[in-house]
Amino acid sequence: MSGPLDGLRVLELAHERTAFAGKLLADAGADVVLVEPPAGAAQRTHAPFVDDRPDPERSLSFWHYNTSKRGITLDLAAPRGASLAGDLIARADVVLEGETPGRLAALGLDAEALLARHARLVWVSVTPFGRSAPRAAEPATDLTLLAGGGPVWSCGYDDHTLPPVRGGGNQGLHTGAHHAVMALLIALLERERSGRGQLVDVNVHAACNVTTEMASYEWLVARATVQRQTGRHATVMRTSSSQTRCADGRHVNTGVPPRRPEEFGRLHRWVRDLGLEAEYPEAFLLEMGMRREHIDLTQIGQDPEVTAIFGAGRDAIVLIASKLPAVEFFREAQTRGLPVGVIYAPEEVLDDPHFVARGFPVEVEHEDLGRSVTYPGTPIRFLGSPMRIARRAPRLGEHNVEVYAELGLGARDLATLRGEGVV
């Protein structure tokens, strides 16, 4: 079975802001041709490297973000570069680029002009602040976008002498990429009916601004400001802890403590099953929780009995967690109908039996290493047209011969272009 975007042709000008969007499209079956400068994309210099040996063909960051793509080299600034790019664009459904506004136009690759020439083309531009923004030319990174765009304000610790925290893994750039993919798919579906493409302007700073959940709408609706707290939502009114340490030193998210009578019943039974009654004299409060109506969260701090019962549920969970290793606590709690979550490091996800059972870790052939490498699989499980990692990221210029052949250029033309430093 082929992927949902089988047949879609995407030309991606290599950039850290477009790489993840290009990967999602390529893993979904689109033919994504990654255009790198002859010296290689900047992402090839990004750690980590295989065996920590820096090399353009050994960057694991590049490997992850460029699966399933074909790769060619082309110097857009060389005399023939822009015209070759123009020929490639003429054959594409989508151009995906993350250049600073104005750079491509200066090279003779003006989005508006190319859209006028190619009526069906969808041009996707992913920039820090949008193409025509007051701040369009400002430098920015994942860190500064997440800080200036809002998410960082909400993340960190109860102790505000510690700095707020930027969640790891380039999530600001990922958020921009998610919006790029959604918007370009919408433009393609619209093209199905109108026959016309258009310009898609993606603003990463704006994407961060609308990825803050309560922080934005508490202000928009009620002019209230949330404050960061350890391991839980930043809120206007302080809430109690929802993260605790297990017997093996690892942490779990304890979720929302019991509110319904049946949940108090499950927790009470678990305390008994573990023989913890002696250490937990407040068990009678759980029994009260079992006998009363579902707890109204707005009564916490107002009604002393409700407050005591709710607190007892939380204390029981913390006590049980302190007796069990984190993974065991998580599975046992969930099996008993109490939603909690183990806090895994990324590598631990790949070994978890649930993820393994669903085939999430996948093997990707690396004939260059003489073996396969385990990758995280794809984010969406289509049962009729599956996403999948079709192959490892391209080596630099790996598909020059076949892609330029599609433009009618033979081996001799390619040798000339190589000699001129164009490819």
Partner: protein
Amino acid sequence: VSTTPGSDARALSHVRICDFTGQLAGAGATRYLAAFGAQVIRIEDPVRQGRWDILRGTSPFVDERRGIDLGGAFNNHNVEKLGITLNLKTARGRELLERLVRVSDVVTENFASGVMDRLGFGWERLRELRPDVIYVSNSGFGASGPYRRFKTWGPIVQAISGLTFTAGLPDQEPAGWGFSYMDHTGGSYMAMAVLMALYHRARTGEGQWVDMSCTEAGATLNGPAMLDWTVNHRPMRRPGSPHANRNAWPAMAPHGIYPARGDDRWLAIACRDDADWGALGRVVARPFTGEARFADLAGRLAAEDELDDALAAWTRERDAAATARALVEAGVPAASVARPEERIEHDPNTSAWGLWPEVEHTAIGRVRVDGLPVHLSRTDWEMKRGAPCLGEHNAQVFGDLLGLAPEEIDALRAEGVI
């Protein structure tokens, strides 16, 4: 493909979605599609007054009024949708849902896995009702595997997928994300799932079931860390790791969030390369910026704690916003850690973008919501109508779309079907 008279200029006005989603992880997906003109028909339970979605009727509120239609978060996540009520415990309710599925391109839900089967509307049944239907289910762990019955909400998804762990400082417990990043992001993947499946159907005529697992979507967001483990056997769980405000991939230094003058004021600075370091040095102009050992990246990384302390001593005495501006003008990426008020009311970039549109909600009145961070040059998004009040569009959907007479709709209401 269904059509709605008079709205054919919108990008997705040819798409009708029978929508059971709620909270943010589901509702955020169909919100995006509705903003581009998809006809999203949100179905709620009249008996529980739609309270399956815990955001319906809860804070924040615009004023002192309270009620099931007045929740600010619910409004934010459900703009531009139609809302109907339908009691699926009644035979007539199920029959009406069957008719609605037959005229819908897509069915979306984010119940716990298995709930749609129990309601009698699992994949096999939906496919019988409409052979080319697209069914997107979005649950914490997906519909198969040992954890398929486990329940999640955003912070639990983040915990399991590795995102909570990677948001932390050395010698501290995980800080995690102070909001449901994976509700936003799970919603984005759910919207992608709908859109990719529609694209596939346009090519092949085939519908399909998409079994989305939010924890799988989250686990794809730490790819390089996972490859560092599977290739180099270096785990993220090791002493000194993570150090989330620093950046190893690519390596940058200085790179962090530094204290600024005032109460809880902070400043993010990222020197991408030696040129940025030189530019920073010209702004900071303190002896440490001229030290030879800091001249290249390797030297700065080797003494990163010392470098951060020296830079923090400089930032601590300064205004966050003004210092960020001075650094940016010198070409160095920098930003003050923006409070909601600052980025919503005083950032010319968000206002010029139209990022906080005002919608008209039937009960709440006019209120601002999150806009979208994309603009399409011909068929852009619009947000004008607020979230539906409970059953607000019953007459339109049961009458205009399904062809019921007003008396029939009144009878359904009297019988508790809607």
